[in-house]
């Protein structure tokens, strides 16, 4: 597959007898935002850590920027910016000093990079406030500043909105979107907040108990899961005929022997229900399904809510 920034094949991580990541094959395309979804302990952070060389790989392989990670770490890792778990900075240093330290470690960073990065995330340059006294939002923003400081092509962000208030979440969301749209960065992001991922991701990967259950574009998810009227009826053939003849509804699909999904909202649920009843069709259930990512996640992971 061409133009893949991240590709893993059968990526596996085993701790003793416990399989943390099991045979995961991810495909992150250039310039897209890839949302990695999963519950706590699903294996999202472990995958990211393996990509960054923080954790050893039990089996499988990783390709970054089209090159195998093994043997090319020194060339590939400087092209990545990341936040993994908590943004880790020296508590006694200011944000500026912290970034200066990491700019030194990164080496090839321009002189103005620290100032620019702080400006981008709206943090002051010359204040004397140590990192220990930063609010959670400021800490997260400093984490992002550190990740973007060396102008990386790929950003790996593990729960970057964790613990932020709604405004902070929106800020970070817009910022990530902007990085992708305006600067052409590729972003691999994990999050608990499905609604947030839904707003920014182009592609999602759903991981559960270390296994990648699904990898698809958000368009596909929307198509599968778009808002519809879901009716469980005793006679599908008769019900379909009724919908077409009485209401002129053709935008529907029969998903199971007794379930019809109606994507046309020109007729309300009550009228459809009444018509079925009058035609002698038993209706076990009829409701509007909002069809969001959460629904999809639940369906894929077997009804488990994220958390």
């Amino acid at each position: 597959m061409a133009d893949l920034m991240v590709e893993t094949n059968g990526l596996t991580k085993q701790y003793g007898g416990q399989m943390a990541v099991n045979n995961v094959s991810l495909h992150v395309k250039s310039g897209e935002i890839y949302g990695l979804l999963g519950r706590n302990g699903a294996g999202k952070t472990t995958i990211m850590k393996m990509l960054l060389g923080l954790t050893s790989i039990t089996a499988g392989n990783v390709q970054l920027f089209g090159k195998p990670l093994n043997g090319n770490k020194n060339e590939l890792h400087p092209r990545i910016g990341s936040i993994i778990e908590t943004p880790g900075f020296y508590p006694n240093l200011t944000g500026y000093e912290n970034l200066k330290v990491f700019a030194n470690l990164k080496g090839k960073v321009s002189k103005s990079a620290v100032e620019n990065a702080l400006e981008v995330v709206n943090l002051p340059c010359g204040d004397s406030k140590p990192f220990a006294k930063y609010s959670l939002g400021m800490k997260q923003r400093l984490g992002i500043a550190n990740a973007i400081m060396n102008d990386p092509e790929l950003l790996i962000l593990d729960e970057p909105t964790n613990g932020l208030d709604p405004i902070g979440i929106a800020e970070i969301r817009n910022f990530i979107k902007d990085l992708c749209l305006r600067k052409g960065k590729t972003v691999l992001i994990s999050s608990h907040q499905l609604s947030e991922i839904e707003k920014i991701a182009d592609t999602i990967g759903i991981i559960h108990n270390g296994v990648l259950l699904e990898e698809c574009s958000m368009k596909e998810v929307s198509n599968i899961n778009r808002k519809h009227i879901c009716a469980t009826v005793s006679d599908v053939k008769k019900a379909v005929l009724l919908l077409e003849q009485k209401f002129n509804l053709v935008n529907y699909s029969v998903v199971e022997p007794d379930i019809i999904k109606i994507f046309d909202f020109s007729v309300d649920t009550g009228s459809i229900n009444k018509a079925f009843w009058e035609a002698g069709i038993e209706v076990a259930a009829i409701y509007i399904n909002s069809g969001n990512l959460e629904e999809h996640f639940r369906a894929i992971t077997g009804g488990n809510d994220i958390g």
Binding site: T55, G88, F89, Y90, P91, L105
Partner: protein, 243 residues
């Protein structure tokens, strides 16, 4: 590698522990000099005075040095900065080397300051016996004892890496090494063969006691083995460690 050292120096500049630990180490010879100048009668010969200084430095410096290496490593795990450091990216070898560098730099500066204070004390207390050979002897003994003590304590680096966020194991081990080093000062002749093989008592034997040449070789070998093993184990453990 130079960038990694620079970053370590930037961090060290803002860390009070380096100054506080250094002051604690330096206060000991300062008090000894002041005591022997104004309060008590110093030993007859400056060599005895120097040995007392060596012994006291052999207690305080290794303990504070233990605090320094614990702080240097444990803080990175505690504050999760190790993740940002390694993803900068910094190689694991460079990380260990930079920690060793900053640890040794602090140790060498403090050791030099301790030597200076002791030589100044030698000048003030034994003015009539003050001579270039005496200064050389001070420098030789303190440098030898200090550097050997540092090499023998390198396993602390391994423990610090292995214990990650935990603070106590390295400190307790540093105290243990110091106690053994102190015990090495008063080793009986029968115990010399055994004590020479233990790196930390070997430091005292080879720097303070008068022993046969063969035991000096054993002492130096055991200290060197401790240092090399400490370093190798640190690198090996850190390389295999998942973050």
């Amino acid at each position: 590698m130079v960038n990694v050292f620079k970053a370590e120096l930037m961090k060290a500049k803002k860390s009070r522990i380096f100054i506080v630990s250094a002051l604690i180490v330096l206060l000991v010879p300062i008090f000894i000099v002041l005591k022997d100048l104004f309060l008590t009668r110093p030993p007859e010969h400056f060599m005895d005075w120097m040995k007392n200084g060596l012994m006291l430095n052999g207690i305080v410096l290794p303990i504070m040095s233990g605090f320094i290496i614990t702080f240097l490593i444990q803080r990175e795990y505690q504050d999760y900065t190790i993740i940002n450091v390694l993803t900068a990216p910094v190689s694991k070898q460079a990380f260990i080397t930079s920690k060793l560098f900053i640890w040794f730099l602090w140790y060498a500066i403090v050791l030099f300051a301790v030597e200076t204070i002791n030589i100044f004390g030698y000048f003030l207390i034994y003015r009539s016996a003050f001579e270039l050979d005496g200064i050389k002897l001070f420098i030789e003994c303190f440098t030898k004892s200090g550097l050997l003590s540092f090499v023998a304590s390198l396993p602390l680096l391994w423990i610090a890496v292995k214990q990650r966020k935990m603070f106590y194991p390295t400190i307790i081990l540093a105290l243990g090494f110091t106690v053994i080093q102190l015990a090495g000062v008063n080793t009986s002749m029968e115990m010399i063969p055994f004590a020479s093989a233990v790196p930390w008592s070997a430091v005292s034997i080879v720097s303070i006691s008068e022993v046969q040449a063969q035991y000096k070789v054993i002492c130096m070998a055991s200290i060197l083995i401790s240092g090399v093993l400490g370093l190798l184990l640190s690198c090996f453990t850190f390389n295999r460690q998942d973050q």
